[in-house]
Every structure is written in C-alpha cells, then in structure tokens.
Symmetry: C2
Subunit: 226 residues, 2 copies
C-alpha cells in the first residue's frame, strides 16, 4: 500500500473577499457548508480563518468556537486547524482561540516580508504560541516561508518546544518572500529529511501557484492543500 496523501482545504484564508470571488465563504454558516462539501469530496484537514461581517479578518475566539461546533457536527472526524497567522490579529490575540483545543493550529516560527509589509513573528511571540499549543494539546502545522524557518522548526523540535514528529508546510509564491521555485522546493524536502526525518510535510502556493505545487507535492510524497 502506498502512503496516503492528506488533503488540507483552506476554505477562506484572510485576504480574498466576495468582491474577488462570490464563492468565498465569509460567515461561519457559509464556512461550514463549504467545508462539508470539501470533506465529502475527500479533504481531511480544514485550515480555517474567521472573518468579521464586513469580510475583514478576525481572530475572535467566539467565531472560532461556533465554527468548531459546526464542523464537528457536519464533518465528523475531520481535523480542524485554526490559523494563528498575523493577518487576522496582532500579538497574543493571534492565539486567543487556542484554549478551544482545535486538533491543529498553524504556527509561524520566523519573520519575512509580505507584499507590502513585514510579517512579524518575534521570537517571544513564537515561543508563547508554541507553549499555548502544548498546554492545550494542539498539534502545530509549522509554516515555513523561508529556509531558515525549517531550521528553526528543527531546533524547536529538538528542545521540546514543539513535541512529537513535526508537520511542516512550505509556503511559496508570496511576493517579496519565497517564489514558487522548483530547486528550492526540492532543497526544502532534502532539508526536512536531513534535520527531522520523521516529519511530514505539505506545501501551499499562493493563488495560481497552488496547482503547480500540488503536482510537485503529490509526485514527491507530500501532503496537498487547496
């Protein structure tokens, strides 16, 4: 039997609006409907952000709680992953939903540039988010926007800040950060295998890059993201 490929569905993200695509699920009810369709089609992880009524990104634990309740009811057994990314809040507000004990949460472990600003993940915030995840039994998906983030993940694993085999995600195609680049993708995999041989990995591409990256991921034995 070959190793199964996990499909992670990112239903909403923090950037796209209804004006970009009317199908983007914004309300919690829309998110639950949309995730259920993906779950029935074979996705096993739901990577979730929540939004305010006007579509702007939110990190309100109340909304995350309603989303989790709905997903548990409509998608039984699906792995729920909340985003602690920096587009939805600042500082510790980014982890305010972790006491809800989702199965997983995204964890950025380094800083990098975004299209128009710095994506700030200062070391003390990273350590605090990791400690909250340990305290509430939440499995991190480590977001690697650059090569040093893979090294940082390995260090955090070695010293116990991230317990168990790691689950890392390569993020490519963000303007002013790492482009969708095949030699880099291959070196990322090599580096993961060298530094943390028991880790699983997946990859996310921004916009048009996702389809190409999914082809690479499936052929290379990683896990896929929509």
């Amino acid at each position: 039997m070959t190793k199964p490929c996990i499909i992670c569905v990112a239903i909403t993200g923090s950037v796209p609006q209804k004006s970009d695509n009317p199908a983007v699920p914004i309300t919690v009810a829309e998110q639950i409907d949309s995730t259920q369709a993906a779950f029935e089609a074979g996705a096993s992880i739901c990577h979730a952000h929540v939004r305010n009524a006007d579509g702007s990104p939110s990190s309100d634990p109340e909304k995350f709680a309603r989303l989790k309740e709905g997903l548990e009811k409509h998608c039984p057994g699906m792995i729920i992953q909340f985003s602690t990314g920096g587009r939805s809040g600042a500082g510790q507000a980014r982890g305010a939903m972790l006491p809800l004990r989702p199965d997983m949460a995204s964890l950025s472990v380094g800083s990098n540039n975004f299209p128009t600003r710095v994506y700030e993940n200062p070391p003390d915030l990273v350590d605090w988010l990791a400690s909250e995840m340990r305290a509430h039994d939440v499995k991190p998906e480590v977001e690697c926007f650059d090569l040093s983030h893979i090294h940082q993940a390995a260090r955090m694993s070695a010293d116990g800040r991230i317990p168990g085999p790691l689950y890392v995600q390569f993020v490519m195609g963000v303007k002013n950060a790492m482009p969708v680049d095949r030699p880099t993708f291959d070196f990322y995999i090599e580096t993961v295998k060298r530094l943390m041989p028991d880790a699983e990995w997946c990859a996310a591409g921004i916009g048009a890059g996702q389809l190409l990256i999914n082809e690479w991921v499936v052929a290379a034995g990683g896990h896929a993201r929509t």
Copy 2:
C-alpha cells in the same frame, strides 16, 4: 592566474563593546587606526558602523563623514562600505549617510528574526535605500540572511532596482535566523550561480562561525570577511 579573494574587514560591528573586548574600536580615531592596520595586512573593503561615545550604535552622518575622510587619507584606495543595517537606526535614518557617496553600502532586502526581535526591512524601506544608493552611485552589498533574500536580490537586479553585477553576502550564525550549515551554504552558491551568474559573493559568520565560514569561502571561490 587564479581569481583573487577580496578580504572585507568589519572593524566594529554594532553589538560588541569595550567590555566584551578592549580592542573593539569605538571612536572614529580608533576605527581609522584599526582599519589602517587591516589595510596594510591586505584587506581591501572596510565595512563600517559608527558608535556614540558610550559605545551604543549610531547612524550619525557627521561621524560617517569623519570616518570616510580619515580612511581616504590613511588607507588610500581602500573600498569604503557603510552599514545601513537596522541595529544602528530606524527607517530612513539608516540611509542618512548615503549622500556622502561611500563606494559601497550594505543593503538588506528581506526581513528575518534576530536573537530577541524581528529584523525589520519592510519593502518600501528596502526600495528607498536602493534608490538612494542608485542616486549617489553607491554599490550595494546585498545582505542575505535567508534563502528568499537571494531571490529578492535577483528580482531587484532584473528590474533595475540594483544595477550592474550583484555583490551578495550570505549571513549565517545569527540565532533564530540561518545557522552555519554547510548544505545551505552550498545551496546558496548554487542559487546565486543559477539566478545571477555574473554576481560575486562573500559570507559573514557571527562570532565563532566566521573562521569556519572563511575556510568554506576561500575553498569555494568566494570573498572573505573578518
């Protein structure tokens, strides 16, 4: 004839104090003395930071002007490179000495973590520093603290934000950023050769890492730093 190796002497940096090592040159007069000794020993680039009287980092153009004057007198022909790094000032203050027209200046093109904070190089500041360097005929040394910074340098070269063949420096050994790692070092060189075949490259290691990196650099055909 083999290709010559350029030696860049970083006399002061922004962190070490007299209390760490009494030989650290702090005043402009000490910096000129120390650079002259390195120049006579074979260094051809002086990478310079300036300091306040109490040893704290400064970005005062007045001090940079006095340093440049002294270096031109005591080290004729030496290449003068000023730091625009973020430890010595914030925002555009980091580039306030560029109108002095040093031969070179360091240019960080991405953001990353430092031991206790984020090293912030937002895209608009990077672009402004690059435009100041073009306006005053200053050759950038592009500081690459992570792999995506090499890609960013290549993009900035392709679209004219950094003119001419690039001079890039790999920076390794900063806590919470890229460690001193041989496979990464080799992949950095491969990436530079692939994306900008006419670039020259050098490498800086923090503290104890510098000697090891110098061995790698000399064997691989790069330029060295003290």
